[in-house]
Symmetry: C2
Subunit: 598 residues, 2 copies
């Protein structure tokens, strides 16, 4: 692999030389700044050989570098071996950001190239600013590397389907009216949305253009009295056309967005989120009108789930929890007795999930990782590499489904036999971290940055840490990662933080990873609820959506405070109460034992 990549990078460098481009940037993105992208858009993986979900390749004449985050250091190191590509470990001490790297290496008058459709407007603008003093030229009107990718997959093109009102809880007209209220508040006449899940949410439709993300490639352009959806023809049926029409939405071809923006009547300001739009469209809008660059109004509206959605989500998570619990019981009972490997058991779990009524898809590729593999936080077993699972050590499974009643996400780590004292320490601290955060009461106004340390402290106290955020928002029959809220401690002055509001759902997923040894993550999804209100203000808290036992075989109570033990027992009491109706006979006995008080 390393050698093939080396040749590919060499071919690209030749092309760049022909085009007079000195540095070429290949991010991991489609035209919509989506987090996950369909195969058509996996240019960075094709060019570099690194298959992780996040990373950016920068190719210069002399060096090619790949930037990725802590989740992928181990994986990237392996996959880049022999490729000659330098790995830049993001946020490690002394490691330059891409902007710093370019600031250092780009000289006066050089040219930077990228496909302007796959680079977010925010990043493009930051680059402009960073390199303002160097008289740099940007070439962003074409996909220079395209000709190197002979067997490139086709652009995805799935059918839209309609989310019924009893499932989505709010009609398109009402959503449009809320969005237009926000537009009036901002003093804009138009709104361009390029973010796929926002568009799906707004129009109560879903599709399948990105694996596991039920979205369709699309844009929408709103005015006070019109809504235009840009979408591939093949995505539309008579039924969806009628649904959209009745909601006041007209449709145009997906590829017509640029022409439309060039020629349509624009009066007043246009709202266009730089973080969620591509550089090419942003520049186009900017050339036609005063642009207001703020987060899409759909972002927060979508994140605060309505009562109908919440009711569906609660039921959906319970059914999903039942299946995962049964799977984990099977794992613990059969490891070492039945031949099994990572991919095989993932498929078993996926099949069990598919039996849940309303199942549509997985919400992401199941992460099924045994022992040291789990230290690669987002490791995936493949046909080529799927380790055999035995009767010792930790097994980690991070998985979720797309259902008619919501999108789930959950991680559990279980001991399949003997584990060391250190592993128990790590497991116990991670369990305490998850439970403490879920149990936290906080005043309204807090953001994720205030709360993150509650989960991290049990680990920081032992000079340990996990190199990923503590939590992310989750869509409703939508992307498994969604904003605007998140739980994370790092200070990014330029990034607006979202206050945690009632009705948001968020993951609570501390972990602990020891390279070449083991990986632990315990992830519940919690719903944000109002607690008491008094003279001090409105207190907020969390309510579990996930009810799956935490493996007591890996818990050592000597590492817990009495309050931690109370939290664990209280959670397990809830787990038993919630799951018991779905279990019977010997399985019910197992559930009782797995959730016993310690």
């Amino acid at each position: 692999m390393g050698n093939a990549v080396k040749q590919r990078i060499g071919a690209l460098q030749k092309l760049l030389a022909q085009e007079n481009i000195d540095f070429y940037i290949v991010p991991t993105a489609d035209y919509h700044s989506s987090e996950y992208v369909s195969d058509y858009f996996k240019m960075r993986a094709f060019l570099s050989g690194f298959t992780g979900s996040a990373g950016t390749l920068v190719v210069g004449n002399e060096e090619a570098g790949l930037w990725t985050d802590g989740r992928y250091f181990v994986q990237a190191e392996k996959e880049l071996e022999g490729s000659g590509i330098v790995l830049y470990r993001m946020e490690e001490e002394g490691v330059p950001t891409i902007k710093e790297y370019l600031e250092k290496h780009v000289t006066e008058g050089q040219t930077i190239g990228f496909d302007g459709r796959v680079v977010s407007a925010s990043f493009g603008k930051e680059l402009e600013e960073e390199l303002a003093d160097k008289n740099v030229k940007f070439v962003y009107d074409r996909d220079v590397a395209a000709q190197l990718w002979k067997d490139r997959p086709a652009m995805p093109m799935s059918r839209l389907w309609i989310v019924p009102e009893e499932s989505c809880g709010m009609r398109v007209e009402e959503k449009l009216s809320k969005v237009r209220e926000k537009m009036t508040e901002e003093g804009v006449e138009h709104l361009l949305i390029a973010k796929l899940d926002d568009i799906m949410w707004l129009y109560n439709v879903r599709a399948n253009d990105v694996e596991h993300n039920p979205v369709a490639l699309s844009y929408t352009f709103l005015s006070m009295d019109a809504a235009v959806l840009f979408i591939q023809d093949a995505a539309l049926t008579e039924e969806t056309k009628a649904h959209l029409e009745k909601s006041g939405v007209s449709c145009q071809k997906y590829t017509d967005i640029s022409d439309y923006l060039k020629n349509c009547a624009i009066k007043g300001k246009v709202w266009c989120s730089g973080a969620d739009s591509n550089y090419m469209l942003y520049k186009l809008v900017q050339s036609r009108a005063e642009l207001v660059d703020k987060e899409n109004p759909t972002e927060l509206l979508k994140a605060v789930k309505n009562p109908v959605e919440l009711e569906n989500i609660r039921r959906c998570y319970l059914e999903d929890s039942v299946v995962l619990t049964k799977f984990l019981f099977w794992m613990k009972e059969n490891a070492g007795k039945v031949p099994m490997d990572e991919l095989g058991v993932a498929k078993k779990l996926d099949a069990m999930r598919a039996e849940i009524p309303g199942f549509l898809d997985l919400s992401f590729e199941t992460i099924s990782a045994y022992k040291a593999n789990a230290a690669m936080a987002h490791y995936s077993a493949t046909q080529e590499h799927s380790d055999t699972i035995g009767a010792d050590g930790f097994y980690l499974v991070d998985s979720g489904g797309q259902y008619e009643g919501g999108t789930t996400d959950v991680t559990r780590t279980v001991a399949l036999g003997a584990v060391t004292d250190e592993m128990k320490l790590h497991f116990t601290k991670v369990a305490c971290a998850m439970l403490r955060l879920a149990d936290t009461k906080f005043l309204s106004g807090c953001t994720g940055r205030n709360l993150d340390i509650i989960a991290r402290e049990p680990l920081w106290d032992c000079a340990l840490d996990y190199k990923h955020g503590t939590g992310h928002g989750i869509g409703y029959i939508l992307n498994v990662h969604e904003g605007p809220h998140r739980l994370s401690w790092q200070y990014k002055p330029e990034k607006k933080e979202a206050v945690l509001e009632e009705g948001m759902i968020v993951s609570d997923e501390p972990g602990m990873y020891v390279q070449d040894s083991h990986g632990i993550r315990t992830e519940n999804i919690v719903e944000i609820v109002k607690e008491s209100k008094n003279a001090y203000g409105q207190f907020m808290g969390f309510r579990h959506l996930t009810y799956v036992p935490i493996d007591l075989d890996a818990i050592d109570i000597q590492y817990m405070e009495p309050s931690d033990i109370r939290k664990l027992n209280a959670y397990h009491r809830q787990v038993f109460e919630k799951l018991a109706p779905y279990f019977a006979g010997k399985e019910l006995e197992k559930l009782k034992y797995a959730t016993r008080a310690v």
Copy 2:
């Protein structure tokens, strides 16, 4: 008082009508945005009758309003009684900010007035922006209310003294060179500093122009090859002149700053912090050059104490702790036996502090508050009102000194006899909060917003809170409150957060206040230190500077986790070890008992 204030406001309203000013703003500030101000500048207190250290008066034709923060709600309510002034409780739900208030009440083309020297440039600019659409006129070139204040105190004018090198640890030349490095990094040719403690730090001088703040009214204007200090003539002696001259600093009259800025040679950009400069000077600079509005470079340089300062600080805090401990022993022993009142015992403590070698001044007026008075967080007993202290309930004392070896600040609350279970619960939770925060380990990169919840969680968990920050930086023989770091949870997107760095010192002062009943605050000052460094990063922690027992009579261990008890006992062990050399005989026995393990 209420009536006199009513008449004063009436007189001001007449004046404003004559001057065609519709709204007049009177903040609590001198010309330097100092937190505390000398009597000359206490115009807001004179006009409104509210004597708290923070608050802004806005006088319109129909209404006068006073804005203050949670520390002062109770006090302001009392002091404003009968004045007709409306109290606006800042950050309470539904209470408008001053900007929101003006946005609502100011109509097209009206005039807003203020003395441009006592309004910070940041606030002035925010007002401009907020009211941009209303065609509002700003009158800021005079102190309109001045003529109402017949017996206004004189402008302060104290002598500068030099901090010797063995005390300050760094020569002026070195400091200037570090500041100029930052200027080069920012690409500016000049720097205007209006912040008094920054100027004192930079030139290794102190004075006494503000009660308890060892600063002199001054400005400084730096170029790459010149440093001009603007200061009142009377502040200078031959010795200080020589010290400044030798360090490359020339002096000009304090009042000449405007003329100087109007006429001096300016090439390139000027650095001027809008948050720390007054509106009038800022506008002046802006009229002459490109202005870079960023926090003064001196701010962070000053906050990170050098090894000489730290060594002095540690010794200084220990000696201060000894005195407070002895005072508190005396209080607990004599309450109810010896006649005493709040002001009297404060004077006793002040006198004891004055005996410490190197004592210069108090660092702020001692807060000595018994029972319900302590619920007014920054209450001060006065000649007119000083409650008698008896042998029950809580007594709170928040105090500190200015010494040749540093500036101290410490709060303890002690039970003088019987206290209720609820009071013990509150006291114990506050003690846990202080100790947990002091014991926290965190990764380098954290700011105070990450950590605040560690102190607040024990209270939030019981739906309780304290309406003030958890901690502030502290000067070195300088202001008892200094930035840029602080411990606080509220999200203010516009406010840059400072990363907590090794060598900073910060207060750790959770509290609990029940109106009409009791007030508790336990405040230690801690130093930020490096802990272990490993693959996860550089861990940081705190080290106590304050060693004063926490009153075990008010602790109920049923409200503590075992780890809280361990922390308390460990702290008390340290207190005993540190203080024992200063105690003997019966007092030593008392110390031993007060710091016993529970």
